[in-house]
């Protein structure tokens, strides 16, 4: 046996330091081992290749050979993207490789949620607004925030893409993209109290799309793997310490969003024994985060404690809309069962109470899609999801005018027209 280690060779340290799930196979594709890129594995002499697939759809492949007798020093296998897979810009590398994979978009019907349709191809100043809100949208307790002050523009490609940094905090934040006369999209922002979040607005195939990314890139990657059903890959990726909720809480971290992603992934792959009791801590310690209540509720339900699960789910509307879509759907699906079915056992479930909680969450579930891992839904009033178009004449104080960024007639050099908001460069 020889020891094999892995090294990732991306342009950015953020990706090179990721804990990627890796498969080691023989040339005929026979699977020999799965590992995280931070792990060392033992492999018998022979020819192999290491491979990993990123959420963006790119595959990294590196062949290697273990001689007989094996060397005493570990063999380092380097995985790097091929030139044709590289991102256009270094600053775009994270979203390029960790964004929704292209195959998913082409395979499934085009996802409407999160996009603003394409009448907006010919935008002009004033024709596309970005707004920010905070608060509990489930209970109509939300307020506008000054988007121009909250969002920091990092960089962008004029007419194609613009990227913002969202500062850290413990408010529930939502971005809203409004095209006057067209649909309105709302997107929860996965803001970590430790590191903030990233918001990207891009124009692709004539449509505008909002994407949000966690600043914990391992959690961001896991979220994507998990959302498109890559069960085996997500199982390996979820072993990473970077998304180990138990460790994150034990270390007094303040990144409950990453912990929540780890928990949702474990719930998706059905490995509840790994959750121990830390979902309860997540719920109790981060009382502002709806996902903590949803996660603990689903965990309790999986353990058969349905009355206690209902208690947890009932906290969700009190806190607000879960940031991650899984939280809303776990709550709604359980509540529907609790409200409609007879329950046997010593742990009776209050169907009327379940129906009451369900009534508050159901309007959001009607227009959200679970395939989008971060909560997104349409509606100008964030508390009243609907598919109505915005007024054709629309003004909003404190919003960011994206029209001038995506205006095809704008100068090629984005800096010549000045940044949309305070720029940090990059």
């Amino acid at each position: 046996m020889a020891r094999v280690t892995f090294r990732l060779d991306f342009k950015t340290i953020e990706l090179s330091s990721l804990d990627l799930p890796i498969e080691v196979r023989k040339p005929n594709a026979t699977l020999i081992a799965t590992a995280l890129s931070s792990e060392t594995i033992d492999v018998p002499p022979g020819a192999y290749y290491a491979t990993t697939r990123l959420p963006g759809g790119q595959r990294l492949v590196a062949p290697f050979e273990i001689a007989e007798p094996p060397a005493t020093q570990p063999l380092e296998v380097v995985l790097a993207p091929d030139p044709e897979d590289a991102s256009a810009h270094e600053w775009e590398e994270v979203s390029h490789f960790l964004g929704r994979r292209s195959v998913q978009q082409s395979a499934a019907r085009p996802l409407r949620a999160g996009r603003i349709a394409s009448a907006a191809r010919q935008v002009s100043p004033g024709a596309l607004h970005l707004r920010v809100f905070s608060g509990n949208v489930v209970r109509h307790q939300y307020v506008p925030e000054p988007a121009t002050q909250i969002l920091q523009q990092v960089l962008g490609d004029q007419a194609r893409l613009v990227q913002f940094e969202v500062p850290s905090g413990t408010k529930l934040l939502f971005a809203q993209l409004v095209q006057p006369g067209g649909p309105v999209q709302n997107l929860a922002l996965p803001v970590s109290p430790e590191a903030g979040a990233q918001l990207i607005i891009c124009q692709r195939d004539g449509e505008f799309r909002m994407e949000a990314h966690l600043k914990n890139h391992a959690a961001d990657m896991l979220l994507q793997y998990s959302s498109y059903g890559a069960a085996s890959t997500a199982t390996v990726a979820s072993r990473s310490e970077a998304v180990d909720g138990e460790r994150l809480l034990r270390d007094k971290t303040t990144d409950p969003i990453a912990a929540a992603v780890g928990a949702y992934c474990i719930l998706r792959i059905g490995d509840v024994t790994r959750l121990h009791d830390w979902t309860q801590h997540l719920r109790e310690r981060f009382a502002w985060m709806p996902d903590g209540a949803a996660i603990h509720g689903e965990h309790l339900a999986r353990m058969g404690s349905h009355a206690a699960a209902l208690d947890a789910f009932a906290e969700v509307p009190v806190r607000g809309l879960p940031i991650l879509a899984d939280g809303l759907f776990y709550a709604v699906e359980r509540l529907k069962l609790y409200a409609s079915r007879t329950w046997k056992g010593q742990d009776p479930v209050d169907g009327r109470r379940a129906q009451s909680v369900l009534d508050e969450l159901q309007p959001f579930a009607l227009l959200m899609r679970r395939q989008r891992p971060i909560s997104a839904y349409p509606g100008l009033d964030l508390s009243v999801p609907d598919t109505k178009a915005a007024a054709s004449v629309f003004t909003s104080a404190g919003s960011i005018d994206l029209g001038k960024w995506f205006d095809p007639g704008a100068p090629d050099d984005p800096t010549s027209s000045g940044p949309l908001v305070g720029s940090r460069g990059g």
């Binding site: 196979r25 492949v61 998913q104 059903g229 069960a231 059905g270 409609s340 329950w343």
Partner: protein, 389 residues
């Protein structure tokens, strides 16, 4: 007649696979039916869903499963154009489904290493996103004042009742669900407050839900499932192609070092996305696909050989294919050599595995430069691209 396969006596106390397959084409109370109601909610007769269910049954009886097929219960309501299926199995009415579902669950509860397989093809509706209501043959049976969904079951209750609990602690921990139905939201359903499906069973508190229980849905919310009239649904065509090889992947090696191949939850999910997309494109379908449920890794079936992969190789820029020599080598196969000019893009059907790709320019053809890549061929299809500038 519903138990079309029964090997329980031979299997004894060992674990086995227990299947319940339902195919409904004939809906007497919907549009075009013999007793059609005045407002059938825009839902008409189907022509191929019973046939599709029977094809799935035939696949199941021939497949190499991780545990032997112990029982297969089948309920079919064929359309007149599916007369060859008449009388093969009992009708898929609510009462029959109720009875067979309980028998299926009882069999599944005999051993935690059992496996269950559920397949439904027919009409479906949804009350909200992530909801799937399966309409049975007597859906919309009068009186009109009866609860709207009383002859229908919902997937959440179906899966919930199959969960481990104190009274069914030994129920199968691997459960595979396939829902091949439209999930439309008829306007008429909006008249009702929280319309409920018929109760298939009560749900029970207690018991840890440690199942692998993926649900493969043919159609995402508010989209209608597609079919090839008189033949089979698009989803089943993709599904059966995947289960018989297109979704094949390595399961590692057996104790003797021989490679094992099969279809896993992940490989099936990924291959279905691709194959459904291809069928839509080739047949003009409007089918979509998604996965839900509990996605703990599991193997659905075993395959005799490694999968073949449809590979498309493109050279960037395309003009370079006129002056470059391409060699694809590896995986113990004879090299594929393409001398210039070669037809672009290159299409190959290769065994799964790793390949070296060499593009050379002799004589030199600036600005193009020689390139070498290592790429992986992964079923069912993959696109390779090589940039030469």
């Amino acid at each position: 007649v519903s138990l079309l396969h029964d090997a329980r006596a031979a299997i004894g106390a060992n674990p086995g696979c227990h299947a319940l397959i339902i195919g409904v084409s004939e809906y007497p109370y919907l549009g075009g039916g013999q007793q059609a109601v005045a407002d059938p909610w825009g839902m008409d007769q189907l022509t191929s869903t019973a046939s599709t269910a029977y094809k799935v049954f035939e696949w199941l009886t021939a497949a190499r499963l991780p545990v032997p097929l112990a029982t297969c219960r089948v309920l079919l309501s064929p359309s007149p154009s599916e007369a060859h299926l008449a009388g093969i199995a009992d009708h898929a009415t609510f009462d029959n489904v109720f009875q067979e579902a309980h028998a299926w669950r009882a069999d599944a509860s005999s051993h935690p290493s059992n496996v269950t397989f559920f397949y439904f093809a027919g009409h479906g509706v949804q009350r909200s996103k992530e909801d799937a209501v399966l309409c049975l043959r007597d859906f919309r049976q009068p009186p009109a004042t009866a609860p709207a969904l009383r002859r229908a079951i919902d997937v959440a209750t179906l899966c919930g009742g199959m969960s481990p609990s104190p009274t069914q602690d030994n129920i199968a921990r691997k459960q595979f669900y396939f829902i091949d139905a439209c999930r439309v939201n008829p306007d008429q359903l909006g008249r009702f407050t929280a319309p409920q499906t018929a109760a298939l069973w009560d749900l029970e508190s207690g018991g840890q839900d440690d199942r692998s229980a993926p649900v493969f849905y043919a159609s995402v919310s508010n989209h209608t499932a597609g079919a090839i009239p008189g033949a089979q649904t698009l989803f089943s065509k993709a599904l059966l192609a995947c289960l018989t090889g297109d979704a094949g992947d390595s399961l590692g090696e057996d104790a003797a070092g021989n490679p094992e191949w099969g279809v896993t939850v992940q490989s099936l999910n990924e291959a279905l996305q691709l194959r459904v997309d291809e069928l839509n494109r080739d047949l003009g379908g409007d089918q979509s696909y998604t996965i839900g449920g509990l996605l703990k890794p599991a193997t659905l079936c075993l395959l005799d050989q490694p999968p073949l992969v449809d590979v498309t190789l493109t050279v960037d820029p395309e003009a370079a294919s006129q002056v470059s020599r391409l060699v694809i080598r590896g995986n113990g196969q004879a090299p594929r050599v393409y001398n210039p000019p070669f037809v672009h893009p290159v299409g190959e059907r290769l065994a799964a595995g790793s390949y070296g790709i060499e593009l050379t320019f002799n004589p030199p053809a600036p600005p193009y430069v020689d390139q070498t890549r290592f790429k992986e061929a992964r079923a069912p299809r993959i696109s390779w691209k090589v940039k030469v500038v």
